[in-house]
């Protein structure tokens, strides 16, 4: 007959194992979100947060305007120029290969081990009239785009509005 102590040890071990598994799964999901934006353009979504993320990179790399989450002809031309310069198949669609390439340009603003608040990653291109930049935010459960200037910021999966120019930046909330 198991004693109370045995039950407590077994229960504690189960809880600890569950926590470890949950942490690993969370970390894997976090990484996956950064590298697997939904396809954007003719091959996928034409509006929403995934579009904002792609347009955000294109605004820095090609000068695309506006970044409004609505896919259009200008966005497609910008994508083709980005793809051509980066050696990708030129089809105007931000597929996985194109998004992974875009993602490689994203650089952490803070120490990689430090949890920044607000915008903590950036794409920056040198340009004749000054640098062109695009900002992103990332945490354990989600990531999103900051669009400058203004307050139209659309995270990809949490669909929460984040404002770079407001006094208090809204953080991505991890639920559950």
């Amino acid at each position: 007959m198991p004693t109370t102590r045995t039950w407590l040890q077994a229960g504690g071990g189960t809880v600890a194992a569950a926590l470890i598994i949950a942490a690993v799964v969370q970390a894997m999901n976090s990484s996956a979100m950064w590298v697997s934006n939904d396809p954007v353009g003719e091959c996928g979504q034409t509006s929403g947060g995934a579009v904002v993320a792609a347009q955000n990179v294109l605004s820095a790399s090609t000068g695309l305007e506006p970044v409004d989450g609505s896919w259009d002809a200008e966005s497609e031309v910008a994508t083709k120029a980005f793809q051509a310069h980066n050696g990708l198949p030129v089809n105007g669609c931000v597929d996985t290969g194109t998004w992974v390439t875009m993602r490689a340009y994203v650089i952490s603003l803070c120490d990689p081990e430090f949890d920044c608040r607000g915008p903590d990653h950036r794409v920056r291109y040198a340009a004749p009239g000054g640098a062109r930049e695009a900002y992103f935010a990332d945490n354990d459960c989600d990531w999103g785009s900051y669009v400058l200037p203004g307050v139209a910021h659309t995270p990809v999966t949490s669909n929460k509005i984040m404002a770079l120019s407001r006094d208090a930046v809204v953080e991505i909330e991890c639920e559950g």
């Binding site: 790399s61 031309v77 390439t101 993602r103 490689a104 952490s108 603003l109 607000g118 040198a126």
Partner: protein, 227 residues
Amino acid sequence: MVTSIEEPRIRPEWLLGGAVTLLGAIVIIVVTLVLGSGEEEPVVTPADATELTAGTCAEDLRQPHWVPDSVRRAVVECPADISAGIGRTTAEDHLGTWIVYPLDGAENQETFRGGPGPAWPEDEVRSGAYHPASAITYVAYPGSAELSDEMSGDNVMVEWVDLAESGLDARVTRVDNNGFGPVRVEWSDDAGSYLLLGTMGRTPTGGSGPTVAELIRIADSVAAEDE
């Protein structure tokens, strides 16, 4: 016997010839000076790349001692500048310092004429004729020991490379799209962690940007001469 000695005479044709020669020499000198003034001053690449950041907040930062010859200048962005740009949402002592080295040369210049749209001919876009300027971005995170999360994907190649001079290991991440694409070189030492980013760009005439070997040499130069 009377001997007459003729006074030496300057013959008119000599005078004319001398004047013409002098005038010719003056013309040659003037033309040379005028043409010479139109040429750019010879650009001297500093013997040590740290000279490019002299007088900036990066002056005392651990940074590259070597950059390719096509680098003539550096643009430094301090943590205070970055903090101001993102609404001061994070402590400056956790922000990295950025040094951007623009690359000279026609193939490295930005070719955009207006924003992307129908005015950009399709065939030129497909050839890589519309591209941004090439630059090498260096970011230092003093006090940090971590690198960014490792990337993955079908077109991502990650390898660890020995830095011969400094004795460190660097993680080289290539997004290899038929030989083109971004390259990240990341490493850490006792003072912090570092990132170099460059693009091997495709252009109608071949390519733009630094090579992987150049990025690795830059990384190796960061610590090599400080020790």
